[in-house]
Symmetry: C2
Subunit: 230 residues, 2 copies
């Protein structure tokens, strides 16, 4: 079990944030990619990541890659899958432990973006390096599945939020409209949010209540294993 092995080990992260679509004005999922500066796939876009320092945990390495490329801190971080088919990387076996992360939308708007870091709409990606298109597809599936039964949507929002904002997150992730009244009923009965007593002022209609996330309700997560951040 302690044999030194031939395969190289890497940690990558699929980072999601909500941004409003230039066309429709609706929010949708975006993710940052980095341009490869080496062969193989020189010049192609790829998931941020890198090697695994000896003294760092897997989740720590994922969070660091995220911070180094985007300057952001994830509000949610969880292991996705480990990809290790021989042949997924031309020129040497690479085993990639992939994490997925959610970052706050307001913060994400300020994220680093330059020649080598660029945000793309998650549903319309160019051909990426390695098998990264497939990895993003799987991460999207996982996000869309999990948002329905777990309480991760608030990771896209700030400290306090209205139920309409929370609903818009769900709508953006699931790509379908939700009935406001039914959504409210479901969320309220789940106990995942708490009324702060405050309301939003200055809106040209009835002012909505502000809620905050309820930390005391445990997520429906594995007994022995929690998300790294969440």
């Amino acid at each position: 079990m302690n044999t030194r092995l031939e395969a190289a080990l890497a940690v990558s992260t699929v980072i999601f944030a909500l941004r409003s679509d230039p066309g429709s004005g609706l929010s949708s999922l975006w993710l940052p990619l980095v341009r490869r500066t080496r062969d193989p796939y020189l010049g192609r876009w790829a998931l941020p990541g890198g090697g695994l320092p000896t003294d760092e945990g897997l989740a720590g390495a994922a969070a660091r890659a995220l911070r180094e490329t985007t300057g952001l801190t994830p509000k949610y971080l969880e292991q996705l899958y480990t990809f290790g088919d021989p042949g997924r990387s031309p020129g040497g076996r690479v085993v990639s432990v992939v994490y997925w992360a959610l970052v706050e939308s307001g913060e994400a708007a300020l994220a680093v973006e330059d020649e080598n870091v660029h945000w793309f709409p998650a549903d319309h990606l160019p051909p990426l390096a390695f098998d990264h298109n497939r990895i993003v597809e799987y991460a999207l599936w996982r996000l869309r599945t999990k948002v329905e039964y777990s309480r991760i949507a608030h990771a896209f929002l700030g400290e306090t939020f209205t139920l309409a904002q929370l609903r818009e997150v769900h709508e953006a992730v699931l790509q379908k409209a939700l009935d406001p009244a039914n959504f409210r009923r479901t969320v309220e009965s789940s106990g995942t949010v708490v009324d702060t007593g405050r309301r939003v002022a200055g809106v040209p209609h009835r002012p909505p209540r502000l809620y905050r996330y309820n930390d005391s309700v445990p997520a429906a997560e594995p007994g022995a294993l929690e998300p790294a951040i969440g």
Copy 2:
């Protein structure tokens, strides 16, 4: 991404089979462990596994470890999680990609067992090497969660089976009794099994129908990622 790294890479497998409990006569979950023949944890029981050959996929390595230790072929095999905390292995960083597998019960009764391979009841394990107790706990959680929404229970059974046998699998995994009539209603409406038209003969009561697994109904699985075997 192609840097040679310091951490060693290993693949381990949590293998589940059903066996009848000596005491109660009821079926329960058992798993095979191997005795460590080297330090660290010399003499302790551990999950079967080993290094990753250069030309072999992760799932392939998991299936091979399973075959080599138990002589069995898994009817279900899926990646569980990758454990890589620094310090989880005394004497050198090890990153373990862990799979979980289900094997047919009839076949499992014939499995290899000797001085260095032994089957244990999954709920009463001795202290294992490394963090393997925690890994088994997580695999158990995953099995128990997944058996309720996915159709993996048939992996414990043979080609054809009665609904009572399928129900007993669920009862053994979930550790609670299920109403036979309600179970039948749920399974039949799910379309996951097909009536073979045959019945079991020679039982001292009304003969039950024999069903087989319906391959044509797709599992509720990731779009981009399937279980290795299932």
